[in-house]
Point group: C2
Chain length 377, copies 2
């Protein structure tokens, strides 16, 4: 298969739910949280390389040096491995839109672009590429196409995708009889709607009804995304197009500095996915149940991923369900008579959280900021 | 009141239940665990000074320098502030017995000796001295006299004293009518027996029946203790007497090196208190209920003592009943969605224990020793 996907990786986010491992200056995507020897960003690049005609990482100036150090091929002048530095954070739509507009200028409106988070984990890259291929097939037909994650539990941590009928086969292989059903399959379906993170009862209903998790991955033709944007957010589209036209010219920096601050800060989900889905323009390629996807949204997810391997240097006296992460402190951790905890040690901070309360770790960061302890966040 | 008590402080014990604050090389008595600015040993000396004709600290060679640094008056040649270094640990009876035998040599058999732990905490030194005075009065009459702690709860962490009838008043002030009862009073009673740490149901019965906690403090005439020892453990008594007779002579070191290793290792409770009580020779002076005594036997006790003041540099998101102790790591500790925990940070180790499981912290030390991590204990 000829790599024909222009991969866009918006790399941002504070990752405050993984404090104190992640910090403002060292967000989640820069960390090797899986112990694989590759950071989440490096693993994202590795995973997508087989399909990538080009790759663009969009990040803030604060992370330029760290990204370039982790991925030296993005540090040079190669236009197929490019680092786009946002002058300021404007949420995901301007970041993805700028990279898309640049692709349209360079490769034409029919070029496929795909946007993927920099800080997710996928256990089975082979199954992921199958889903990407299915998404590309639907994208070529004009759909804004997302990759839907087949739920493994009734999680309340993710938004869900209500998928409708399968798209008529056209250029995608027909589904063999008997293979549709609970397992993900590489055939795209129309998206009825995107729904927000549900409560527990609603989550159970969604899973029973075959809804998929929304992992925020989108594949489409560059011209399709820009067309929707021109219709729904014309000022944003015009600004992005103006910057993109200057990109490979001497006026890039001036145009970026002048126009970027005027762009609306908005997420691609609200700007494009939700309104376009309401009019039948969004498809979803369900990934295989065995994909092994997680966004590592909190320490409970990280502990789940790490499993018994997270025992680190810990000494346990009756401590079931506990996970310990050493963020460079080198301390031996002893756990006595506790359960379902995560303990994280770093040189300047120690976190002890109940796994079921792990989403509240972000409140610690809020408190530290309020208390003027910004050096710790 | 003329200070006429020869105070003996056996300062030993591994204190493994307070790991990682306490270590082999830095046992509990050398630490300022109350935040008072004085270590437990220093506070013990402070508390007893008003009644002390002399004071002797008996400790191991490993702690000589630390004790001398904390208590410079014990580092010199003063015979009334003396540091006795045990060649090896032989439990409490040889340590207390040697200091007692030395007092008998120097001051005669009628001199009062009192043995007190080096690592207990007492909130009200004034009430403690009242109990010491009552104990001295009974001791002068020939009793081996202990100070009984009036229980504040049905603890399973302490041995109990079954006290019998009040001794007939003789040299002690009579009890004013109506003042006996649940509160401790400065009048000694006969001891029926010492009982071991009970289970919870037995502890409740003991408290209901007016039993007292055994804090391991003993006051008696030097000749009374040595007399019991000569009868019950003649070889031990003979060895101690031989060393004591050489103590203020040039042969001290030779005699100590030759005789000490032959002495039976035994606790004073088993050697003297229990058998003598069985024959009516032990009295108890109950301390006032408000004494505020604790042996700080584990982190639950330390958390209880520290109260809300133990919050340290912690950031709490819904963490009731938690205490944090910084043993020199300087780390900020964040607690999220947990309860009834103690967290201790030191430069090389972090402990997280459920308060009700705090007695099991010693198992961590066992594990570390087994794992060859002796540098951490």
């Amino acid at each position: 298969m000829t790599p024909d996907l222009h991969v866009i990786i918006p790399a941002g986010g504070a990752g405050t739910r993984l404090w104190p491992l992640s910090r403002r200056a060292r967000p989640k995507f820069l960390l090797d949280l899986t112990g694989s020897g590759r950071t989440l960003l490096q693993a994202t690049i590795d995973r997508l390389s087989p399909r990538a005609a080009s790759m663009t990482i969009v990040t803030g100036a604060a992370h330029r040096d760290a990204v370039a150090a982790q991925l030296p091929e993005f540090a040079g002048a190669r236009s197929d491995r490019e680092l786009v530095i946002e002058p300021s954070g404007r949420d995901s739509m301007p970041a993805i839109g700028l990279a898309t507009a640049i692709v349209r200028e360079r490769h034409g409106a029919d070029a496929l672009v795909g946007s993927f988070a920099a800080d997710h984990v996928i256990a089975r890259p082979d199954l992921f590429l199958e889903a990407v291929d299915a998404a590309c097939a639907a994208a070529r037909r004009g759909y804004v196409t997302t990759i839907g994650i087949t739920p493994t539990e009734a999680s309340t941590a993710y938004g869900y995708i209500h998928a409708g009928e399968a798209l008529e086969a056209e250029g995608t292989p027909p589904v063999p009889a008997g293979e549709s059903g609970t397992r993900g399959e590489p055939r795209a379906r129309a998206v009825s709607e995107f729904v927000e993170k549900p409560d527990a009862a609603t989550a159970r209903r969604y899973v029973a009804d075959g809804y998929l998790w929304n992992a925020g991955m989108f594949v489409m033709r560059a011209g399709v995304l820009m067309g929707h944007l021109e219709r729904l957010h014309p000022a944003l589209a015009a600004g992005l197009t103006r910057i993109a036209r200057s990109w490979d010219t001497p006026s890039r920096d001036r145009e970026l500095a002048r126009t970027w601050p005027t762009l609306t800060a908005i997420a691609i989900d609200h700007a494009i996915a939700e309104p376009v889905a309401a009019h039948g323009g969004v498809a979803v390629a369900p990934a295989d149940l065995d994909l092994g996807w997680t966004d590592l949204g909190d320490f409970d997810a990280l502990a789940e991923l790490a499993g018994p391997g997270a025992e680190g240097a810990a000494v346990r006296v009756g401590a079931p369900g506990t996970a310990v992460f050493d963020g460079g402190s080198g301390q031996t951790v002893a756990l006595v008579g506790v359960e379902d905890l995560v303990v994280v040690t770093t040189p300047d901070a120690v976190l002890v959280t109940r796994r079921s309360a792990a989403q509240d770790v972000k409140k610690v960061v809020d408190r530290l900021v309020q208390a003027g302890s910004a050096g710790l966040v």
